[in-house]
Symmetry: C2
């Protein structure tokens, strides 16, 4: 039969370390090769293949970790805030700030043309979990009565709006004089106002 199986503990440890090293490499340059990663881990170029199916699966695991960190950061940021409207603003600010602070992670999560997470249900689930933070914040605002809207639709509009700002900003496509930070609050305010919010 094929090669012998490996212990669950060792597997998890190696994967975690690989993901960690990969994240620090990605922070330096946007294209990381498997061999670079292996060298940075002090291991032969083919060793990762014992713990990951392929380069795609490896970087998909890195992506999943990014989603998890993103969701954690958003939830932590939201924790002390009570006002439902302010929570929506805060999730938007957190979205932008996380992207600005960790641009390489944002690229990993949302780069167009990257392999579809559909093939990796765990990665897809991690993405859904981050999206759930946005959804919850919007639902809170709607339930509070401060805005009147279909939760799913308003959440999509807010997410798209902020995501668009951040994406365009990160590929330096905003006109000079306009920064992402200047646009996030107006975007959220406009979308809320359009749904009945009176500041």
């Amino acid at each position: 039969m094929g090669r012998p199986a490996l212990s669950a503990a060792g597997l998890q440890a190696f994967r975690a370390r690989a993901i960690d090293v990969a994240l620090t490499l990605f922070a330096r340059e946007p294209d990381v090769s498997l061999r670079q990663l292996a060298k940075a881990m002090g291991v032969s170029p083919t060793t990762p293949y014992r713990y990951f199916e392929s380069k795609e699966e490896l970087f998909m695991a890195v992506r999943a970790e990014c989603y998890a960190r993103f969701a954690t950061q958003l939830r932590a940021r939201l924790k002390p805030i009570e006002d439902p409207i302010e929570r929506v603003h805060e999730v938007a600010r957190g979205y932008h700030e996380h992207a600005a602070t960790h641009p390489s992670e944002f690229g990993l999560m949302f780069q167009l043309g990257q392999p579809d997470p559909g093939a990796y249900p765990w990665a897809h689930r991690a993405g859904i979990d981050a999206w759930q933070v946005v959804l919850d914040a919007v639902e809170g605002a709607v339930l509070s009565g401060a805005v009147q809207a279909d939760v799913l639709e308003l959440a999509h509009l807010l997410w798209s709006g902020v995501h668009g700002i951040v994406s365009l900003s990160m590929s330096s496509r905003l006109s000079v004089g306009k920064s992402a930070a200047d646009l996030v609050d107006p975007m959220v305010s406009a979308l809320m106002r359009a749904h009945g919010w009176c500041p």
Copy 2:
């Protein structure tokens, strides 16, 4: 001295043909190698180097062509429409529709982590030209008095909003039951309403 120079006509012809072939290849798969392109052109793998500085410059030229086509399509679509508000709606719909019809071109234009057009002023200018279409439409709406807003800010909000919808949609990140087509009009309406537009 270095290799002999090449005639301006031949240069332009080869570049145009290369861009054309590249676009058809990109329509099939999102990653095209220089050698694939050369083979598809029926030419040796290194021939493109006579006409392009590097792979980056080649694909930057492809990008510039995408911007040009995009701007042309938007302007054509806008031509018969008079009402300033409807023009804004139409530019948004055109944005989405062009992306849906030519997803590979959209990816080339807006993929995160792609080389900065700043290093290629002609490509940057082509991008600015497409952006100008959006800007003009918004300016028309503001000048008509139907909305009250800073033109640059509203244009950025609209562009970001629609761009976000399209980007998230193209990486299949919208929830089931929500499609980009369902969101573009609500997004534009909401942003206009928030700026004083009364339908």
